[in-house]
């Protein structure tokens, strides 16, 4: 089975994220990392081809940081990588789906996996939109897969409150992969060395037939710090002082102990 996995370079949210005087993101201090959900998707794809034969292609779209993610995907065991160079900040999920579909359409994939959402913007749309552009079935929040049989596969979908649904989906299909489905492997030294010899195809929107980038269907109006909320009563002092004060509060004021 042929599987493509979409990977995104996301802004590292642990790093400093600030606005300048005009309310624009200070882009120069942003750091990028691989979207964590996508690593679960890569791992799931590799396991599926290990058990059922086939090959995995990783694809990413974006600025330079995307290539680093693709190299990680190759080192984990993907056979090939496609890098679409463009600025995804201004594309929106619909535009991203159009470009990914253009790059993947002719390759005859049985399965396309994405992370359930991106850790920075969290739109959680590209997987299903891509499925529609490719004419594939799709489902989201997948926490379990099984071997394909008779052109179908059964997947386990995570619902709310601990509920799950088992869904049979027709192939070809797009699945968005939820965290916790597996334990993503760390690339071995051998994998990292092998990745250097693997094919990394570089392409652009123009080469994919887009003279201009697709117009976003949602317009960004601006970014702002979150509205202030009432904070907890913060305790101060040494660890021993704070501990003693907390126990006193919980015993005497809250009567919770």
């Amino acid at each position: 089975m042929r599987i493509a996995v979409c990977m995104k370079a996301v802004v590292d949210s642990q790093a400093r994220i600030e606005l300048d005087g005009d309310g624009n993101l200070r882009q120069e201090q942003l750091r990028y990392e691989v979207n964590e959900y996508d690593l679960y998707a890569v791992e799931e794809a590799i396991r599926l081809v290990e058990e059922n034969e086939g090959d995995v292609t990783v694809i990413s779209l974006g600025a330079d940081g995307a290539v680093q993610g693709l190299r990680k995907g190759l080192a984990m065991g993907a056979a090939a990588a496609i890098y679409v160079e463009c600025d995804p900040f201004f594309l929106g999920p619909h535009g991203v789906a159009l470009l990914l579909a253009a790059a993947l359409r002719e390759e005859g994939y049985d399965l396309v996996l994405t992370g359930v959402e991106s850790g920075d913007l969290g739109c959680s749309q590209v997987g299903v939109l891509l499925g529609e552009e490719l004419g594939f079935a799709s489902t989201t929040l997948v926490v379990g897969t099984s071997a394909p049989a008779d052109g179908h596969m059964q997947v386990r979908r995570e619902l709310e409150g601990g509920e799950h649904a088992t869904v049979q989906i027709q192939l070809p299909a797009v699945l968005t992969i939820q965290s916790g489905i597996n334990e993503p492997r760390y690339p071995s030294l051998k994998g990292i060395m092998a990745a250097k010899r693997k094919e990394l195809v570089h392409t652009t929107p123009a080469e994919l037939g887009f003279a201009e980038l697709p117009t976003p269907r949602v317009t960004a109006l601006g970014l702002a710090p979150p509205p202030p909320r009432e904070l907890a009563r913060m305790l101060e002092g040494s660890a021993e002082e704070m501990a003693a004060e907390l126990v006193r509060i919980l015993r005497e004021e809250e009567k919770a102990l």
Binding site: H94, S124, E158, V167, M234, A239
Partner: protein, 316 residues
Amino acid sequence: MSRSVWLVAEHQDDQLHQGAAELASAARAVGDETVAVVCAAPGGTVPQQVAPSVDRVLVVEDPALDPYSAGLWAQAIVALAREHGPAAILLPHAPLGRDLAPLLASRLEAGLMTDCLELEWDEGLVGTRSVFRRKLVARERVATPLALATCQRGAFSAAPAGAPGAIVTAAVDIDADAVRTRLVAMERAEVGEVNISEAEVIVAGGRGLGDAEKFGIVQTLADALGGVMGASRPVVDQGWVPHDRQIGSSGVTVRPKLYFALGISGAVQHVVGMRESDVIVAINKDPQAPIFEYAHYGIAADVFKVVPALLAALGS
């Protein structure tokens, strides 16, 4: 022209999801007319259940529409939207909306804003959503004639019940053979040896504690307080504790008398499962962690320094 804003009524086993009233209040804030769309099997009572929250209920009845199927519900809603031309359609940012909203966006060529915290109408549907793990909020406006949005659970207060809106049954042909996904089975929540949803004292830990071994400090404090151990999603994903201890949107919702959050940052997925607790204490070395916005008492310090001191203070 009057602006009709629709919501997709979520239901299961002929029971309307309580989130529908939240969507109704979001719809009322941006629309002149609010319409609930109900996709259901014939003979159910979901239209009657949702009617007091909206001006009108549009019902598509077909045996194939129950249980929920994203593909078949999309067929029904696309047909209705093409016929009636609503200004906006709202869905929950939940498993249903994650599947269905992008399907509708694609088929109706509409812009979609997900996980909205606020909605307003300003030359189009304008939404506010958290980005960069809640460090910033983004304002966006849908640029297409039809606007779609999914709303975060709990972000909108439920609309009070009013006079029931008129219930109109719409004739839509559903092609059940066209659907490419089929529900095989539903699994209810697993209940572990300890039912954490009934515990009066819960000590929960997050990935910030470091590793499975260090996470043991959570159980130690829980034992000292006579409570039970819980965890946030990343801890369960890492396999440090079993899934039945997971607190949050995809796990268990709890409301103990006392809740300790150790090394938990406070992602919304966790917070929705514990914010109703009577007394919340958060210990986290990052003073900017969002968990302090939900806690009643906060200690911005190293869990591994504070908890031993706490154990000593409890013993005295």
